[in-house]
C-alpha cells in the first residue's frame, strides 16, 4: 500500500512545482502597482503549493524506500525537496506576518531556484542524468545511439564489442548505476552474474533458463516482458545475439572468434562489423526512408475513374502503389495523369495487354518506382529505354514480353536493381552469361522450371491381396 502511494510521487510533484511557481510569480508581479489586484490570491496559492510540496515529500520518501534508485542522487533530491517544502512554508509565514516586500521577494526568488534544482534532480532520476544534455552531445539521444562499426569483429572481445553496447543502449537506463529496478544491475560482470529479484538473470551456457532471455521473449502484453512496452524494444537480431552469447557460457573476456558461430549468427556479426548493427534489421527496403508529401486527391480520383487502382502502400505512408489491371485505356491522356503522382509512386503493376512502349514514356519521370511489373504486356526493347532514369528500381518483371538481352542490358546503370524476371521473353539461352556479367549483383530469374513427371506420379498404389 505504502509502495503504491510512493508511486504517485512522479505525478504529484508537478502540483507544487506549478502552484508554487505561480504563487511566486504572483508575489513578484504584485510588487508592481499594475498587478496589485493579484495580492489576495497569493496567500491561498502559496498555501496549496506548500501542501502539495509536503505531500510530495512524503510520497517521495516512500518511493525512495523501494530502493530502485541510486542512493546518492536520491539523497540530493530528497533534501532539496524537503528544503523546498520548508521554504514555501517560510514564505507563507513571511507573506502573512512580516508584510515586508523585500524579504518575501527574496524568499520567492530563492524558492524558484530551489524548485528548479529539485525538479531537475528528480528528472535525472527518472530519465537518466544525461537526459537533458543528450541532444547537445554528438549522436543525439542515447536510445538511438548507433553502435560504431567494429573494424574486425572476429578479433574483438564479444562482451565489450557487442554485448555491452547493446545492454547499454537498451537496459542501463533502468538497470544501471542510477536505477536498479527489480534490484538488477547490468552494467558490470559481477552485477550481471549476481542477478536481480527475479533470479538468475544470466545462466552461462543456458539461454533458455536465463531470466534475461525468458523475459525478452515473453509476449509484449505480459507484465514481465522486457523491455517495458513503452520503451524501445530489442530487435530479433539483438535477442539472437544475447542468446548466442549466453549459450556460449556468457564469456566476458573471450574474442568472437573463440566462440562457435552457427549460421544464424554470422550475418548479425557481419552487420556489427559494418556498423549497421543491432538498431535495425537488415532487409530489402520496402519503401524509401525519406517521407514524401501526400499526392493530390484530385489526381487520385481521375486515375481511379480511369480504372487504375492507386492506393497508399500503407496507412502511415504517402507512397503509392498502382495496379493497372482494370484500366480501360492506356492512351497518352491517361498516362499523362500519372505525372501528378510521380514523386509518390513506388510500386507499379502494369501487367496489361495494351501496355506498349509508348505507355512506358508515362513512367519516365516517376523516379521513385522501386518495383515494376510489365508481365504479358506489348513492350519491347525500345520501351525499356524509358526505364533508364528509374534509379530507385529494385525489382523488374518482364515475363511474357518481347524484350531481348540487348534491351535489358540498357538498364545496367540502375544501381539498386536486385531482381529481374525474364521468363518467356526473347532473351536467348546463349545470352545468360553475358547478362550475368552486365548485372553482377542482380538475381536474374530465367524461369522455365520443370517438374518432371515420375512414373509414380501417375500410378496409384493399390491394395495388395495376399494369398
Amino acid at each position: 500500500m505504502l509502495e503504491l502511494l510512493g508511486r504517485f510521487h512522479p505525478v504529484l510533484v508537478h502540483l507544487p512545482i506549478g502552484i508554487l511557481l505561480i504563487a511566486c510569480l504572483f508575489l513578484l508581479l504584485s510588487l508592481s502597482p499594475k498587478f496589485e489586484t493579484l495580492k489576495p490570491a497569493i496567500g491561498i496559492t502559496l498555501f496549496l503549493g506548500m501542501l502539495g510540496a509536503v505531500f510530495s515529500c512524503i510520497t517521495g520518501y516512500l518511493l525512495a524506500q523501494s530502493g530502485d534508485y541510486d542512493g546518492k542522487l536520491v539523497g540530493n533530491h530528497q533534501w532539496m525537496g524537503i528544503a523546498t517544502a520548508v521554504i514555501s512554508l517560510l514564505l507563507l509565514l513571511v507573506h502573512k506576518y512580516a508584510k515586508s516586500n523585500k524579504i518575501s521577494g527574496i524568499t520567492a526568488l530563492a524558492l524558484i531556484v530551489l524548485i528548479s534544482i529539485t525538479g531537475h534532480l528528480g528528472g535525472s532520476l527518472t530519465h537518466g542524468s544525461d537526459y537533458l544534455s543528450a541532444p547537445l552531445k554528438e549522436g543525439g539521444s542515447k536510445n538511438t545511439a548507433a553502435i560504431p562499426p567494429i573494424p574486425n569483429i572476429q578479433e574483438a572481445l564479444i562482451y565489450e564489442a557487442a554485448v555491452q553496447p547493446l545492454l547499454k543502449n537498451r537496459c542501463y537506463s533502468c538497470h544501471g548505476s542510477e536505477k536498479q529496478k527489480g534490484k538488477l544491475r547490468l552494467d558490470a560482470q559481477e552485477f550481471i552474474l549476481k542477478g536481480g529479484e527475479g533470479g538468475h538473470t544470466v545462466v552461462p551456457g543456458k539461454a533458455d533458463e536465463s531470466e534475461l532471455i525468458k523475459r525478452l521473449l515473453l509476449p509484449i502484453s505480459n507484465e514481465d516482458h522486457m523491455a517495458p512496452k513503452e520503451k524501445p524494444q530489442l530487435t530479433a537480431n539483438e535477442i539472437e545475439l544475447l542468446k548466442w552469447w549466453i549459450n556460449n557460457g556468457a564469456p566476458f573476456n573471450k574474442k568472437v572468434k573463440e566462440l562457435s558461430q552457427p549460421e544464424n549468427i554470422k550475418p548479425i556479426l557481419l552487420a556489427l562489423q559494418k556498423g549497421t548493427a543491432t538498431t535495425s534489421e537488415n532487409k530489402l527496403s520496402l519503401i524509401p526512408e525519406k517521407e514524401v508529401g501526400a499526392a493530390e486527391e484530385r489526381a487520385l480520383k481521375t486515375l481511379k475513374n480511369a480504372g487504375i487502382m492507386v492506393v497508399p502502400v500503407a496507412q502511415n505512408s504517402n507512397y503509392l502503389s498502382a495496379n493497372f489491371i482494370n484500366a480501360v485505356s492506356l492512351a497518352d491522356t491517361v498516362m499523362d495523369k500519372i505525372k501528378a503522382i510521380k514523386k509518390q509512386l513506388i510500386w507499379v503493376k502494369l501487367d496489361h495487354p495494351l501496355a506498349n512502349d509508348a505507355t512506358l514514356k508515362g513512367l519516365k519521370d516517376c523516379k521513385n518506382i522501386s518495383r515494376l511489373s510489365l508481365n504479358n504486356s506489348k513492350i519491347t526493347d525500345a520501351g525499356l529505354a524509358n526505364l533508364k532514369s528509374l534509379d530507385q528500381l529494385q525489382s523488374l518483371s518482364l515475363v511474357g514480353t518481347k524484350v531481348t538481352a540487348k534491351g535489358v542490358a540498357q538498364l545496367s546503370g540502375l544501381k539498386k536493381l536486385q531482381y529481374i524476371y525474364l521468363y518467356q521473353t526473347q532473351v536467348q539461352r546463349t545470352d545468360w552469361n553475358s547478362l550475368k556479367k552486365t548485372f553482377p549483383k542482380v538475381k536474374i530469374d530465367s524461369g522455365n522450371y520443370q517438374v518432371p513427371t515420375l512414373p509414380k506420379d501417375t500410378t496409384e498404389v493399390k491394395v495388395v491381396v495376399k494369398n
Binding site: 519503401i287 500503407a314 489491371i325 508481365n375 515475363v399 531482381y419 522450371y449 496409384e460
Partner: protein, 503 residues
C-alpha cells in the same frame, strides 16, 4: 394460515406497496447515482480512446464500393495469400516429422504416460505404437527432412519455412478446421479470407476478392462456414468457384439473352434497389447494387481467368493437371492464375487426408500415398511458377491440415484397424509457409523423439493467423470489428506473430 397471520401478511404487503408508490424518479436518480456515475465515467473514459483502450486499425468501409483496394496499417510484404488446406489432416509423421526412435517402438504397447488424461477421437484402451510408414531423407542446403511420399516437393526444401510444432485444442475435423480459418471452433466467426478482404479490398474489381476452390470429392467437414463472413458485411464471404464447367453456376447468359439486354435488366434492378435505398438508407442495399455490377463484369472476366485450358501444354505438364476433371492440380493452377489477376485471398480445400486405417483409402500405405501423389507435383509447380513470374515474393503460400496424427496406431473401439492408420492428434503437427516475406529454407519448432508433443517453438492456429495478417500489413491485435458491443478480432485474445520465420 390463521387470521392473525393473514392480517400480518396483508400489513406487510400494504407497507411494501406504500413504499413502492413513494419511489419516484428522484429516488431512482438518487439511489443509483453511483451506478449511473460509473456508467457515465465509463463512456467518458471510453471516448478518451488511446488512454484506456488499445489502438485500433481504422478500416474505411464504403458499402457502395466494398471491394476497392485499401491500404494496410503498415507496409506488408505480401499482397495475396494462397492457403492450401489438406482437409482430414495429413500425417506429419509420414511427411515431414521424421522420428527414427518411433521405429524402435513399432508394435509395442503405448506407454501409459502418453495416454493418462488424454482424449482421442477413436483410440480406446492401450494402442500399439506405429513407426514411420515412409523413408525420409534430408533435402537442400537447409537439410529439411521430407519423406519419399513427396519427391517433387523435396526439391523445394530451400524455399519454405516449416512449422513443426503446431498445436491445436480440437480433435474433431469440423471444429479444428473452424479454428484454423475463423479463430474459433464454433460457428459464426468470419474466416481469415473475409477479414483480409474486409481490410484490404481487392485489386481486380472484375473478380471476387476471396475465392474458394475445393477438390477431393467432398466439402470440408465444417461446411461452408470455413469461408463464411460471420459478422462482417456479407460481401466479404468467400466465393466458391468450380474448377470444371462454368466457374460460377449460371455465369453465362442464357440462350437468346444478349449482353445489352442483360445490361438493361441489371440497370433496371439497380434502379429499383436505389429507390429502396433512398427509402431505407440500408448500406447493405448499396452492397447489393455493387454486387450486381460486379456480377455483370465478372460474366466477361471470370470465364477467361477461370479457364485453365488456355494455359500452354508445358504448364499443364508441370502441374500435372487433369483437364475436365475436378482435381487439386487444376485448382492449384487456377490459384496461380487468380493471383496473377489480382485476387487477394485464395482458399483451397482438398479432402481425403483422414488416414485412420479403417479402409485402404484411409490408410498410410495406400490412401495417403495416393493423396501425396495428387498434390506433390501441383504444390511444387505452384511455388516454381509463382517464382518465375516474380510473384512468390508478394504471395504468401500456406500449406497444412487442421491437426496432426498420433504416433500410435489406431485401435478403434479397442480393436486394431485392418490397415495402417493413425488417430487425430492435437499435440503436434506440421504446417509450412513460403513466399510473402517468409524465410527460405528454415525450420521452426521441434517435437519430442517420437513426435508425440511439441518441445520447442510451439505455435498454434492463432499464431499462424497473426503471422499471415502481419505479412499483409496488419497488427492482429489492432485489426478489429465492432460487434455486439465489443471489438472482435480474428485471433480473439491470443496469437503471437512467429517472428522466427519472417525474413
Amino acid at each position: 394460515m390463521t387470521r392473525d397471520e393473514l392480517n400480518a401478511h396483508r400489513l406487510v404487503k400494504e407497507a411494501q406497496e406504500a413504499m413502492l408508490s413513494g419511489l419516484s424518479r428522484r429516488h431512482f436518480l438518487k439511489e443509483s447515482a453511483f451506478g449511473l456515475g460509473a456508467l457515465a465515467m465509463g463512456s467518458l473514459l471510453g471516448s478518451c480512446g488511446g488512454l484506456f483502450s488499445k489502438p485500433q486499425t481504422q478500416i474505411s468501409y464504403d458499402p457502395a464500393h466494398p471491394l476497392l483496394p485499401k491500404s494496410p496499417p503498415f507496409v506488408g510484404k505480401a499482397r495475396s495469400v494462397i492457403y492450401l488446406h489438406m482437409a482430414g489432416a495429413p500425417s506429419q509423421l509420414e511427411l515431414f516429422d521424421y522420428k527414427p526412435e518411433l521405429m524402435k517402438m513399432d508394435g509395442q504397447d503405448c506407454p501409459p504416460s502418453l495416454l493418462a488424461g488424454k482424449k482421442f477421437a477413436f483410440i480406446t484402451g492401450v494402442p500399439k505404437m506405429l513407426g514411420p510408414q515412409a523413408q525420409f531423407a534430408q533435402h537442400g542446403q537447409s537439410g529439411a527432412t521430407i519423406s519419399e511420399n513427396l519427391p517433387h516437393f523435396a526439391t523445394m526444401a530451400d524455399e519454405v519455412s516449416f512449422l513443426k510444432a503446431v498445436k491445436t485444442d480440437q480433435f474433431n475435423h469440423a471444429p479444428a478446421q473452424l479454428l484454423v480459418h475463423t479463430g474459433s471452433p464454433r460457428l459464426g466467426r468470419p474466416s481469415i479470407g473475409s477479414w483480409v478482404t474486409y481490410g484490404l479490398g481487392t485489386e481486380n474489381q472484375n473478380l471476387p476478392g476471396y475465392v474458394v476452390l475445393t477438390s477431393g470429392g467432398s466439402f470440408p467437414d465444417a461446411g461452408k462456414s470455413v469461408w463464411g463472413s460471420g459478422f462482417l458485411p456479407s460481401v466479404y464471404q468467400g466465393v466458391q468457384c468450380r474448377s470444371e464447367g462454368d466457374p460460377v453456376l449460371f455465369i453465362k447468359d442464357p440462350d437468346g439473352m444478349n449482353r445489352d439486354l442483360r445490361k438493361a435488366s441489371i440497370e433496371a434492378i439497380n434502379k429499383a434497389n436505389e429507390q429502396q435505398y433512398q427509402e431505407y438508407n440500408d448500406p447493405e442495399i448499396l452492397s447489393r447494387i455493387a454486387q450486381y455490377e460486379m456480377a455483370y463484369r465478372m460474366q466477361i472476366a471470370a470465364p477467361e481467368v477461370m479457364n485453365i485450358n488456355d494455359e500452354p501444354a508445358y504448364i499443364h505438364e508441370m502441374y500435372g493437371t487433369q483437364p475436365g476433371k475436378a482435381c487439386f492440380a487444376n485448382n492449384v493452377l487456377l490459384a496461380r492464375k487468380l493471383v496473377e489477376k489480382g485476387v487477394r485471398y485464395i482458399q483451397l480445400f482438398d479432402w481425403g487426408w483422414d488416414a485412420h486405417g479403417d479402409n485402404p483409402t484411409n490408410s498410410l500405405n495406400i490412401g495417403l500415398k495416393n493423396k501425396c501423389r495428387s498434390i506433390d507435383k501441383p504444390i511444387t509447380a505452384l511455388l516454381l511458377d509463382l517464382k518465375q513470374r516474380g510473384l512468390l515474393e508478394e504471395t504468401l503460400v500456406v500449406w497444412g491440415g487442421e491437426f496432426g496424427r498420433t504416433p500410435m496406431m489406431e485401435n478403434r473401439n479397442g480393436v486394431q484397424n485392418p490397415f495402417k492408420g493413425r488417430d487425430h492428434h492435437t499435440e503436434a503437427f506440421t504446417i509450412w509457409m513460403a513466399g510473402g516475406g517468409i524465410k527460405k529454407g528454415f525450420t521452426h519448432g521441434e517435437t519430442d523423439e517420437i513426435g508425440y508433443s511439441a518441445i520447442s517453438g510451439k505455435v498454434d492456429a492463432f499464431d499462424v493467423q497473426a503471422t499471415i495478417l502481419n505479412q499483409l500489413g496488419f497488427n492482429h491485435e489492432e485489426f478489429t470489428y465492432p460487434f455486439q458491443g465489443r471489438p472482435f478480432r480474428l485471433t480473439d485474445v491470443s496469437g503471437k506473430v512467429i517472428n522466427e520465420i519472417i525474413a
